[in-house]
């Protein structure tokens, strides 16, 4: 019966991964019209519940002009919108790779002079599917279940993490090694 909770997102709480222990079981009453006894179970659950500000490592799942999508394997509704990528970033064709589009962070040293006069900075791409990316949790949302879903839309995500890469030490861990 506890299997109902595993794999489920409990609204405003998080994704239930496992039962940790059972502390109490009460009841065993059979309600009229029921074929089985009902018990009240008090238990502790192991829940994946990220907090705002937490730093998490996840793998790059896919990306497009709107930003990145990351996955932890057991949870993959993690989005880094383009405005939370490190500044300045652009989505542009990769000349060495069939002009496939990818995200680029261009790091320029600030040296007090007019930035437009500087030679271009160092380019750091984010384009390897599966690479580990470190992000900061910006917000966690639990959208309400839609009454109807258009046929081709993405499956409903009961918990969505929005992340940010806009800080020192964040982004692909290969950048910082």
């Amino acid at each position: 019966m506890l299997l109902i909770l595993i794999m489920k997102v409990i609204a405003n709480l998080g994704l239930c991964v496992s039962v940790y222990d059972i502390r109490r079981i009460d009841g065993g009453f059979i309600f009229p019209g029921d074929g089985a006894p009902t018990y009240t179970v008090e238990c502790r659950l192991l829940v994946f519940r990220p907090f705002v500000g937490e730093i998490i490592d996840a793998k790059l799942k896919e990306f497009d002009k709107d930003g990145l999508r990351l996955s932890m394997g057991f949870f993959d509704d993690i989005y880094i919108p383009f405005h939370l990528l490190p500044h300045p970033s652009r989505f542009e064709p990769d000349l060495e790779n069939g002009n496939r589009f990818r995200w680029i962070w261009e790091y320029r040293e600030a040296n007090g002079e007019n930035e437009a006069d500087q030679a271009s900075g160092t380019v750091y791409p984010i384009d390897e599917i599966g690479e580990t990316i470190r992000f900061r949790v910006q917000s966690v949302n639990y959208p309400s279940i839609p009454l109807e879903q258009p046929k081709d839309s993405k499956p409903f995500a009961p918990m969505v993490i929005t992340g940010s890469l806009d800080n020192d030490g964040l982004g692909p861990i290969s950048w910082w090694e």
Binding site: I6, M7, V17, F51, V52, G53, I55, F74, G169
Partner: protein, 138 residues
């Protein structure tokens, strides 16, 4: 959900749910799930019985992203970090990411330098050194 806008770990404001819950590091979750996995394998009469996908993938994730594998080391990490008057989630982020320098630690957990905290750079450095010693002798 209205609590979400006010929630911000950087200012030590966390959701009410966290007040009763215990925060665990990846290495601790790894030990718990591995133990659970062994229990389930032993209890199962059906050799084809699979644990849930979420469970398996969670176990994979925490194993992959645990800095400490040995149960004694994990216990020591929690014990050492507990000495420094850290909030539970600060402790967990530090235990998960194991920053090497004081600057890294402050970048990851800016709240450790909030006004009024008793954590100066020296204390942070000592804490990080203690953590890396455990790693070395694991």
């Amino acid at each position: 959900m209205s609590g979400e806008e006010d929630e911000n770990a950087a200012e030590l404001k966390i959701g009410d749910e966290f007040l009763k819950a215990k925060c665990l590091m990846n290495c601790e979750v790894s030990l718990i799930l591995e133990h659970k996995y062994e229990q389930l394998q032993q209890m199962s009469d059906d050799p084809l019985n699979q644990v849930s996908q979420v469970f398996e993938k969670s176990l994979q994730y925490v194993k992959r992203f645990s800095r400490y594998k040995n149960p004694d080391a994990v216990r020591q990490v929690r014990e050492i970090l507990s000495r420094y008057q850290l909030a539970e989630f600060e402790l967990c982020v530090l235990g998960n990411l194991c920053p090497e320098t004081v600057e890294e630690a402050i970048a990851m957990v800016p709240s450790i330098k909030n006004r009024g905290r008793a954590l100066d750079d020296e204390a942070i450095e000592k804490m990080l050194n203690d953590l890396s010693l455990i790693k070395r002798f694991e």
